[in-house]
């Protein structure tokens, strides 16, 4: 039995309960372009893979959407996430346009390990199909941002707030202000007290605060 995405439902007909959840993986294709990639490339840290189809479109994908589903479609945050991973790996694809996206179902085992097994049903063997070995690493940041206001002081006082005034563009009627109370560009500090209070659940007056 190998019925990607529907293993649970098919196995159920034979009275089997499987260590499988159905997930959706989105795939994407761009408009056709002249040869750019002659191999599959992947970016484990950013979760992105890409190849070029015979018709010229880049075919790519990334992480699964991450919830049980039988709806063969995904959601926008993953679309954006995959695009971000793609452009981190290949900045030149920015102007390429996405033509089409779709979602395919995968059988995911509980710990990501592949399963090939005999079953209690005579003659029934199980090889759930799907992308089992996907790495689930968190993406790294690219590059560094500077931090300002160094201070060498034997007594431990927070650095002072520094005023930076920059004006860019804009007419005075359409103006937004960023008021810098406790941090300057990259150097947070300050004199505010900011304290987390977590109530014991049973003593909390708002145990029913809506999520």
């Amino acid at each position: 039995m190998s019925v990607a995405g529907s293993s649970s439902r098919v196995a159920e007909m034979a009275g089997l309960r499987l260590p499988i959840e159905a997930h959706v993986l989105q795939a994407f294709v761009t408009e056709g372009i002249k040869p750019l990639l002659d191999t599959v490339i992947t970016f484990g840290a950013g979760h992105f893979y890409c190849s070029q189809s015979d018709k010229g479109g880049l075919v790519f994908g990334g992480d699964i959407d991450g919830y049980n589903t039988y709806a063969q479609r995904g959601n926008l945050p993953v679309v954006e996430d995959v695009a971000e991973g793609g452009m981190a790996l290949m900045p030149v694809i920015g102007r390429l346009r996405l033509l089409r996206s779709w979602g395919g179902l995968l059988d995911m085992s509980m710990d990501g390990s592949p399963i090939i097994d005999v079953t209690p049903v005579e003659g029934l063997y199980l090889t759930p199909a799907g992308a089992m070995a996907a790495s689930r690493r968190r993406p790294p940041p690219a590059g560094a941002s500077p931090i300002s206001s160094p201070r060498a002081n034997p007594t431990l006082t927070p650095p002072p707030t520094v005023s930076i005034v920059s004006r860019k563009g804009a007419s005075s009627t359409k103006r937004a202000w960023a008021r810098n109370r406790t941090c300057t560009e990259g150097t947070p500090c300050g004199s505010n007290a900011l304290i987390a209070v977590s109530a014991l659940w049973k003593s909390s007056p708002i145990a029913a605060m809506p999520p």
Binding site: P141, S145, P146, I147, T161, V162, S163, I164, V165, S166, R167, K168, G169, A170, S171, S172, T173, K174, R175, A176, W177, A178, R179, N180, R181, T182, C183, T184, E185, G186, T187, P188, C189, G190, S191, N192, A193, L194, I195, A196, V197, S198, A199, L200, W201, S203, S204, P205, I206, A207, A208, M209, P210, P211
Partner: protein, 152 residues
């Protein structure tokens, strides 16, 4: 717990995601049974100790003063700037005066609350990402023009 807080700080502990301003402190509900207590005047250690003493057996207290930076974004286009990162409806019809929310902006966790003027928002961000946040904020505000104001 409500009584203990009212007695000490003169504020009704908010039962929703809103801010409640008391004597020198601001209680911001940010989740069921969780508040962020912000003070612009009290010393953080003393306040944390005072809270811990008064709420003993009712709640636990954890000083976060060193771990956050707080910015205020205000002005007629403040909501337009924030919308570029925040998937929360800040329109007065949906977000009450004094409303508070915990969410993300540009992949960074934020706690945001509205205080004072209608289009003025305070945003607490984690210390370590404050440089990245600042880059996002200036990039997002540039279209409208912006001014960085430092309070003393």
């Amino acid at each position: 717990m409500t009584a203990a807080v009212r007695e000490a700080y003169g504020v009704d502990l908010p039962a929703k995601s809103v801010t409640a301003r008391g004597k020198s402190v601001n209680f911001i509900g940010y989740g069921p049974g969780q508040w962020l207590v912000v003070s612009e005047t009290l010393a953080h250690e003393a306040l944390a100790e005072d809270l811990a003493t008064r709420l003993k057996g009712l709640a636990s207290v954890s000083d976060q003063s060193g771990g956050r930076a707080v910015l205020r974004v205000s002005g007629p286009r403040a909501r337009d700037v924030l919308a570029k990162g925040l998937a929360v409806d800040l329109d007065p019809r949906a977000f009450p005066a004094g409303g508070a929310v915990t969410s993300t902006i540009s992949h960074m966790g934020v706690q945001l609350w509205q205080e004072g003027e209608a289009d003025s928002y305070d945003i607490a961000i984690f210390r370590s990402v404050s440089a990245s946040f600042w880059r996002w904020l200036t990039a997002s505000a540039a279209e409208y023009g912006y001014e960085v104001v430092t309070t003393s």
